[in-house]
Symmetry: C2
DNA sequence: GCCTGATGTGTACGGTTGTTCCTATGAGCA
DNA sequence: TGCTCATAGGAACAACCGTACACATCAGGC
């Protein structure tokens, strides 16, 4: 009779697409708590999956982080290229750039934080450096739809600086200041 | 006869100023390996002191990091204010600013890395945020010796962005580009 | 309907971390 | 000279980490 103390194993859950969901959850954890806090256990808890599930789907934590950042870069880079493709001329492109900065990026604290976490993690992690390289080269290519390579390079650098400043500064510039700075530089 | 296996305790070393040396060593470790790697043990090894010595001199690791970053900020902020004090007029001040950026900061990879490690650590650590606040307000005050508050603010933001970009980008701007960008903005 | 391999689950292991604590020492003062 | 307390030294603790692994389950091809 005595019910043997059954280990109460959680019912197995059929969960196709769990791999994708793990990538998404990883981005959430990074955005909310930083790369340093993005441990296997923290991600597993956030995604409500057992610990072992992470190493089943991803060979290592680094690989998971790389997959997550790659997805984020894909999203942002694609959105930016759309804006550049839609701009008919150089002036419109600069306007779209300002819009991208003040609207897309600065409007979303999440995207901002993710960008910085990536930059910094990449500074010490070769696997992530490849992701930032790819990002930079994509956005450079988008800019070159309308700007000569030299200017594209300068603008790209300024944008990167502005993004970092906006994310980290305790007292970031507002949209108007950014607009005026950008136009003074490349207008 | 049998020599009792004496624990071979290291000779006690009289070491006045060890506290200061620990702060300096902490900065070295951060510069070389990043905040994430700046553990009690790593610092103790680098300073060649026993582990317990760290928590004797500093109540916690965070307190040690804050002490280290505070020292670094003092050094850099003082050097910058000297340059601003020495400049006779606005034009000279802008020149000195460019010199500070391209010479002092970008010339020293160490200072650059320390600045970024501080920015990023501060983003998630309130104790360090106070240090960055102090830094920003000091450099703002130095700039206001020659610039109106509005421009000082903009320049400060751009400088911060440039520093971050220089440290993190895989393809940083060179001194000439920075000079031209700065002068276009505030010249 | 059965088999099987892909997927899900729980646990364990060795290593590292921040911090605590007890003991030892000797510089400086009474 | 002798005392004492700030400092030095070493070991231990519990918590957490990435990763490996053994086992359970079940969807999908036969």
């Amino acid at each position: 009779m005595s019910a043997a103390p059954v280990p109460a194993r959680r019912a197995r859950r059929h969960d196709p697409g769990r791999r994708d969901r793990l990538v998404a959850t990883t981005l959430d954890v990074i955005a909310e708590q930083g790369v340093a806090a993005a441990t296997h256990r923290a991600i597993a808890r956030a995604a409500d999956v057992p610990l072992g599930s992470l190493t089943y789907h991803f060979d290592s934590l680094t690989e998971l982080l790389a997959a997550a950042f790659t997805r984020h870069v894909d999203t942002v880079a694609e959105r930016f290229d759309e804006r550049m493709r839609a701009a008919p001329d150089r002036t419109a492109a600069l306007g779209a750039l300002v819009e991208h900065l003040t609207g897309d990026l600065l409007g979303s604290h999440r995207d901002l934080v993710l960008a910085v976490e990536l930059y910094v993690a990449a500074a010490r992690n070769p696997a992530l450096r490849a992701v930032t390289q790819e990002w930079m080269s994509r956005s450079r290519r988008s800019l070159e739809r309308h700007l000569d390579p030299g200017t594209a390079r300068e603008v790209d650098a300024l944008v990167e600086g502005l993004v970092l400043h906006s994310a980290l500064s305790t007292d970031p510039m507002d949209a108007d200041q950014i607009r005026s700075a950008l136009l003074r530089l490349a207008g």
